[in-house]
C-alpha cells in the first residue's frame, strides 16, 4: 500500500474541517472566474496522488485529458500499441510499486479494450485506476459514435467506478478512485469522463486523494479471536502457514518471516503469495495448488491448523473443497470480510490488515507448536518431491533449464513477468523466489498476453532491477506489438519465448483428458520470433541447444534495449506435478501414469 499519498483518517478529517471554510470563501470569490478545465483538474488529482507514469492510447473523447498533459513534466505518458497493453503495463506497475498504476483510453473501443486487464486486476486485487473518455453527456444514451456504457460494462469487474459528469467535482472523483484503488483491499477503479466534463471550466481546486467517509477498511482483528487462534496454533501438532498475495499487498512479509521463524512453522505460498517468504529458508514448504509442489500440497492436506493469510482459497489452490485440509482448523487472516468462509470455513476469522494481525498473533502466541515430528515430516516431503528433470543430449531443450539458467545468472531482485500457460508454471516452479514484488503475472483471470506489456510496466516501475518475461508462443502472439513501446523507450528487458509451437497447456489437457485430440492447440505456422523482434527494432535471438542457453541469455542481458529470445523447447514437455481440476491435492500426479489412475 502506498505511503506516498495516503494520510490517516483523522488527519484527513482535520484537514477537511479546517479547509472547508476557506475553500468555500475562495469558491465564492472566484465563482465567476474559472481557473481551469475539468481535464486540468483530472491531471491535478493524479499529480496530487504522486503519479509518475500513465499508460494509454489517445482517442477522440479522451483528447481533453491528453491535452492537459501536454505541458506536464512531472508525469510521463507511455503510449502503448493497444489499450490492453496499457492496462497490463499499468497493472504490473502497480504490482511492483504497490501504488495504483494508471491507464487511459478513449470511449467505446478504447474502453472495451481495457476490459480484460481491468478484470485481471480485479481478480488479483491489483491497484489500478482506469480513466476512460466518454461521449459528451448530451449524447449519452443516444448510441453516439464510440459510445459504450463503460460504467455498466465495468461495474462487475471494478472495486468502484463512477460516471463523472460534473466539472466541479471531476478532480475529486479521480482522487477518490485513486485512493479506493490503493486502500483496504486493493483493486481496480474506473472514472468515466464525458468530453464536456473535461472540456468544461471550473474554479474548484483539487485536494489530496481520499476515500469516502463511509469507507473504513478494518485494521486490527478482534483480540478475543486472535487469542483463541494463537492458542490453537501454539498447541498444533501439524501447523502450516499459507501465504497469499495479501501478505505482499499488505506489506506484511517481514512480519510473516519473523512469525514463522520464531515459532518454526512451515510456510507454503499461493501463486500470488510467491516471494512473500524466501524459498532459501529452511521453513519454506513450497508452492501450493494445481501445479504446486508435493511438499506444499501434502503439508496443507495433512495439517491440523492452517493459517491462511491474504488468500481467497480459490479453486486452483484448493482443488476439491471436500478434501482441502480436511483435518485442519483454519485461521483465516484477511482484510476483506467477504473472503472469510466464502470457500473454506474459517474457524478463527481474523479480519484486518495482514501486517497488523500477524503482529497481534505473534504477541498472543504462548510458544512454538509442539510439532517436531511434523517438521521432520515436512522435510521428508521436500526430499521426496524435488522439482527435477532430465536433459538427454539427443532430445530437444527443456524449458525448465532455461528458467533455472536465467535465475542463476541474474541478481535476486530480478523481476519475472509471465503470460499464462505452461511457460508460466515452469517459471513459477523453477525460479527461486526470495523477494516480494518480483513475480508479476496474471493469476486469477489467467490472461494470455500479459507478459510483454507487464515487463514494460515493471521495468518503468523499477528501472534499477533486471526484468525478464517468460512467455509462451501463443501468449506472445497476443500482445507482441507492445515490443514497439519497449524499443521506443529503450527498455532493457528480455522476453524469453518458451516456444513449443502450441498452446501447450491446452495440448497437455487434450492429451490427458480428451484422448489426445489436439483440436486448435498446435501452432506449426508460428513466425520466427527473433526475426519478428528485429522487425520491431529489438534484438532477436534464437536458441535450441543446451550449450547456447547461457551465452544467449548473457547476450540479451548485455544488450542496450529490449531482446527477444526465441527458445525452441521440447514440444512434448508437460507440467508436473498436476492435480486434475477439482481433484484431491494430496493425490497430485507426477507423471502420465498417475494422471491415468486419477481419471
Amino acid at each position: 500500500m502506498s505511503e506516498r499519498a495516503s494520510i490517516s483518517r483523522e488527519e484527513q478529517d482535520d484537514e477537511a474541517n479546517s479547509s472547508n471554510q476557506s475553500t468555500d470563501v475562495d469558491a465564492a470569490e472566484t465563482a465567476d472566474q474559472p481557473t481551469q478545465t475539468g481535464a486540468e483538474a483530472v491531471v491535478d488529482a493524479l499529480e496530487n496522488a504522486g503519479v509518475e507514469y500513465l499508460f494509454g492510447v489517445q482517442g477522440g473523447a479522451i483528447m481533453p485529458v491528453y491535452d492537459a498533459l501536454y505541458e506536464h513534466e512531472q508525469m510521463t505518458h507511455i503510449t502503448m500499441a493497444h489499450e490492453q497493453g496499457a492496462v497490463h503495463a499499468a497493472d504490473a506497475y502497480g504490482i511492483v510499486t504497490g501504488d495504483p498504476g494508471v491507464c487511459m483510453a478513449t470511449s467505446g473501443p478504447g474502453a472495451t479494450n481495457l476490459i480484460t486487464g481491468i478484470a485481471d486486476a480485479n481478480m488479483d486485487s491489483d491497484p489500478l485506476i482506469a480513466l476512460t473518455g466518454q461521449v459528451p453527456t448530451n449524447f449519452v444514451g443516444n448510441d453516439a459514435f464510440q459510445e459504450t456504457d463503460t460504467i455498466g460494462i465495468t461495474q462487475p469487474i471494478t472495486k468502484y467506478n463512477i460516471f463523472s459528469d460534473d466539472t466541479d467535482t471531476v478532480g475529486e472523483d479521480v482522487g477518490t478512485a485513486w485512493a479506493l484503488a490503493n486502500e483496504g483491499r486493493q483493486g481496480p477503479t474506473l472514472v468515466d469522463l464525458p468530453k464536456d466534463t473535461t472540456q468544461g471550466e471550473t474554479s474548484a481546486t483539487v485536494g489530496e486523494p481520499r476515500t469516502p467517509d463511509t469507507y473504513d477498511p478494518p485494521t486490527e482483528a478482534d483480540s478475543v479471536i486472535v487469542q483463541q487462534a494463537a492458542d490453537a496454533l501454539a498447541s498444533a501438532e501439524r501447523p502450516v502457514i499459507l501465504a497469499g498475495g495479501g501478505v505482499i499487498k499488505g506489506e506484511a512479509c517481514d512480519e510473516l518471516r519473523a512469525f514463522a521463524r520464531d515459532f518454526e512453522i512451515p510456510v507454503t505460498a499461493t501463486m500470488p503469495g510467491t516471494g512473500a517468504f524466501p524459498q532459501t529458508d529452511p521453513l519454506d514448504q513450497g508452492i501450493a495448488g494445481m501445479h504446486g509442489t508435493g511438499d506444499a500440497n501434502l503439508a496443507i492436506s495433512n495439517c491440523d491448523v492452517l493459517v491462511g493469510i491474504g488468500t481467497r482459497f480459490d479453486d486452483r489452490l484448493t482443488g476439491d473443497i471436500e478434501t482441502f485440509a480436511p483435518d485442519a482448523e483454519v485461521i483465516h487472516v484477511d482484510i476483506d470480510p467477504a473472503e472469510i468462509s466464502k470457500n473454506v470455513e474459517a474457524d478463527y476469522p481474523l479480519i484486518g490488515d495482514a501486517a497488523v494481525v500477524i503482529e497481534q498473533l505473534h504477541e498472543a502466541m504462548s510458544g512454538s507448536p509442539p510439532a517436531d515430528e511434523w517438521r521432520e515430516q515436512c522435510q521428508t516431503w521436500k526430499d521426496e518431491y524435488p522439482l527435477d528433470y532430465e536433459m538427454p543430449e539427443d532430445e530437444p531443450l527443456k524449458p525448465e533449464y532455461v528458467v533455472e539458467k536465467y535465475d542463476e545468472l541474474t541478481p535476486d531482485d530480478t523481476i519475472v513477468a509471465a503470460g499464462v500457460g505452461q511457460h508460466q508454471m515452469w517459471a513459477w516452479q523453477y525460479w527461486t523466489w526470495t523477494k516480494p514484488r518480483t513475480w508479476v503475472t496474471s493469476h486469477g483471470l489467467g490472461t494470455m498476453g500479459y507478459a510483454v506489456p507487464a515487463a514494460i510496466g515493471a521495468k518503468l516501475a523499477a528501472p534499477d532491477q533486471e526484468v525478464v518475461a517468460f512467455d509462451g508462443d501463443g501468449s506472445f502472439l497476443m500482445t507482441a506489438q507492445e515490443l514497439t513501446v519497449a524499443v521506443r523507450e529503450n527498455l532493457n528487458i528480455t522476453i524469453v519465448v518458451l516456444n513449443n509451437e502450441a498452446i501447450g497447456m491446452v495440448r497437455q489437457w487434450q492429451d490427458g483428458f480428451y484422448g489426445g485430440r489436439r483440436m486448435a492447440s498446435e501452432y506449426p505456422w508460428i513466425p520466427q520470433f527473433d526475426k519478428l523482434a528485429e522487425a520491431f527494432g529489438a534484438q532477436g535471438l534464437r536458441v535450441e541447444t543446451y550449450e547456447g542457453v547461457e551465452e544467449t541469455i548473457q547476450e540479451a542481458r548485455e544488450y542496450d534495449g529490449p531482446s527477444v529470445i526465441d527458445a525452441h523447447i521440447d514440444p512434448a514437455e508437460n507440467v508436473y506435478p498436476m492435480v486434475p481440476s477439482g481433484g484431491d491435492n494430496a493425490r497430485f500426479a507426477l507423471n502420465e501414469e498417475h494422471l491415468e489412475e486419477l481419471k
Partner: protein, 219 residues
Amino acid sequence: MSPGELPGPGPDERMHPKGRRNKQGIRIDPEAEAHHPPERAVLSALVKHEPGVLAEISGLFSRRQFNIESLTVGTTTDDSLARMTIVIEEPRPGIDQAKKQLEKRIPVISVRELASDAIQRELVIIKVNGDEPDKVNAITDMYDGQTLDAGPRSITVELTGNEQKINDAIDAYAQFGIRELARTGDAALARGESPTAQVKQPNQAPTEAQVETEVISDD
C-alpha cells in the same frame, strides 16, 4: 517415461488426511453431516441514493447466483440515502456471504439481516373480472383491502400485508378470474426499538436518517 515426469511416491503411497469438508468448505463429522437447508432472509441495506446503485446491487446478486425473491428500493428522510429491502432464499452460508458482498460495495453504507419478527409489508394491486361485484367486495373487506376502480367489466383492488396474506388473497380472488396483478415485494423495518440498517460514522454529526431512527427508538 512421460515428458516432464517427476520423482516421488505415487498417489496411494502418501500420507492422507482422515477428515472431509462439505461443499460449503465446512469440516464435517463423517457421522453427522451438517446440513444447511435454504432459509428465507430479509436484508435491509442503506445505500447512497445515486444513479447505478440499483443496477450494481441487482447485478451483484445475479452474478454471484444468490436466489433473490424480491427487492424494493425507496428514498429515506435523507435525500442522499435510499433503503433497499432484499428478500433472499439461501442456505445459511449463502445468506452470510450475500450480506458481506453487499457491505463490500462502496455505495452501500450498512446492511442488516432482520429478525423473523421484523415488520414486513407488501402491496398488491389486483384487477379481476367485474361480473360479481358483491362477492369481490366481500373478499376485499375480508382482507382489509380497498377498491380503487370499479367498472362493468373489471374491478381493481389494493391490499397490503405480509407475503402469506397476499398469497391467500390472490387465491381467493382467483375464482373471479384475475386479469392482471402487480406486487411490490416486501418493504421491512426491524420491530420495536432495535434499529434497521443505519448510518454509523463515529466522527460525523448524525444525519437526518440517524436522528429519525433515534427518535423512533426513543418511542
